[in-house]
């Protein structure tokens, strides 16, 4: 019942073209934990090879530390876009285009985005 209501609110927001804020569809702790797994997995996100973040050990320093993400990315869709295809913003970036090149699935990108946004 509750989920139905949230869905309805979300649909209405969509219909009216209102960008729903992350509070409405806040990721669950389980989703965030899933996202963290994908982000740290060396064969998946392997974000630590370039970014310091959270409690990750031995991070690289090629990219900026991923901290205070909500302040830097108030709009979570901008964060997702950066992870999906970093080359859209900076064609010369060394950051791999995780979505565009199929390194992560759409679902995995969503999970990683939720996790990173929680930092």
């Amino acid at each position: 019942m509750k989920f139905g209501l949230i869905n309805m609110v979300a649909s209405i927001a969509l219909i009216f073209g209102i960008a729903f804020s992350s509070t409405i569809l806040a990721a669950s702790p389980e989703q965030i934990a899933e996202g963290k797994k994908v982000a740290l997995d060396r064969k998946k996100g392997n974000c630590l090879s370039c970014h310091a973040m959270a409690d990750g050990v031995l991070p690289g320093n090629i990219g900026p530390p991923l901290v205070a993400m909500k302040a830097r990315f108030p709009d979570i869709s901008v964060l997702r876009a950066q992870i999906y295809d970093a080359t859209a913003k900076n064609p010369r970036t060394i950051m791999p285009p995780f979505g565009k090149h199929g390194i992560l699935s759409d679902k995995e990108i969503d999970l990683v985005t939720d996790f990173i946004h929680s930092l």
Partner: protein, 277 residues
């Protein structure tokens, strides 16, 4: 008018993709390339870039120096010397093909007859073929024992790769240069992304070496391999790291890349073989 737009777009594209866009001759590009690293690592004297990552990383330098004192490749050098001096079945030998064993610093070369690049490994097999001997494998084993000996005999000589005034030589150089600056693989990274823009930075716990001096010390002994490898073996590994399909050792693509990259270290001393992580 359309031509102008085309030219303008080309210039723009080149500006966006390469850091050394406007430079024109290989000699000018060489000077710019080397200066970039000298500026980036002001504490490293130019002649020390032949030591790869150890030239900029004081922390691992001591271990490196200690390993080099009892180098794991010494046995290969000895084996290579024996091979070099053993006559072929037809009575001829490597001395018929090379003026002396210490020629590492003169390869790769542009061969004006074929219009192709000749690497040291390629020249060795050409020599064997002419004498009716079987060719050696191109990545490790007997080949690297032989090149280890030849590199050892070349120590102290200065790299002097020539790009003769020949359109075909320039085309080979440009092909290698393109490979070096072009993003590739699923991870979409260029050699330059790691070894130019991010030289000195850490990718995970691995520190990235400057490309100046990248090919002065081959064949290289890596603990990871438990033995020696040729330049193309190492480069294939870097291609695979970014999930790109590696080219074959001694493919035209890698020969061109080696030509470009070795040329960029002109003026530095030959110091092979060497050990690396």
């Amino acid at each position: 008018m359309r031509k102008f737009f085309y030219a303008a777009t080309m210039v723009l594209t080149i500006c966006l993709t390469g850091s050394f866009a406007i430079a024109s001759t290989p000699a000018e590009e060489l000077a710019e390339f080397q200066q970039y690293y000298l500026d980036k690592f002001p504490d490293t004297p130019k002649e020390d870039f032949i030591n790869g990552i150890y030239s900029i990383d004081a922390a691992s330098r001591e271990t490196f120096d200690a390993i080099e004192e009892f180098a794991p490749y010494e046995i290969d050098v000895a084996k290579g010397e024996e091979m070099y001096n053993k006559p072929f079945a037809d009575g001829s030998g490597y001395a018929n093909c090379f003026a002396e064993p210490g020629v590492r610093h003169l390869y790769p070369q542009f061969d004006s007859k074929s219009g192709k690049i000749v690497t040291l490994e390629g020249a060795i097999n050409a020599c064997r073929k002419a004498a009716g001997e079987k060719p050696l494998k191109y990545k490790k084993g007997a080949m690297t024992a032989l090149t280890a000996y030849m590199a050892y005999e070349s120590r102290g000589n200065i790299f002097d790769i020539k790009i003769p005034d020949d359109e075909r030589a320039l085309a080979q150089y440009n092909r290698g240069k393109r490979h070096w600056y072009q993003k590739r693989g699923q991870l979409n990274m260029a050699c330059a992304d790691c070894h130019l823009n991010n030289a000195g930075n850490y990718i995970r716990s691995e520190r990235l070496s400057p490309a100046l001096g990248h090919l002065t010390h081959f064949p290289v002994y890596r603990a990871k391999w438990g033995g020696l490898g040729t330049p193309h073996r190492r480069i294939a590994g870097c291609n695979e790291q970014v999930r790109a399909k590696a080219f074959k050792a001694q493919s035209d693509e890698y020969k061109a890349l080696e030509y470009f990259l070795t040329y960029m270290s002109n003026g530095l001393e030959a110091n092979g073989p060497a050990t690396r992580k």
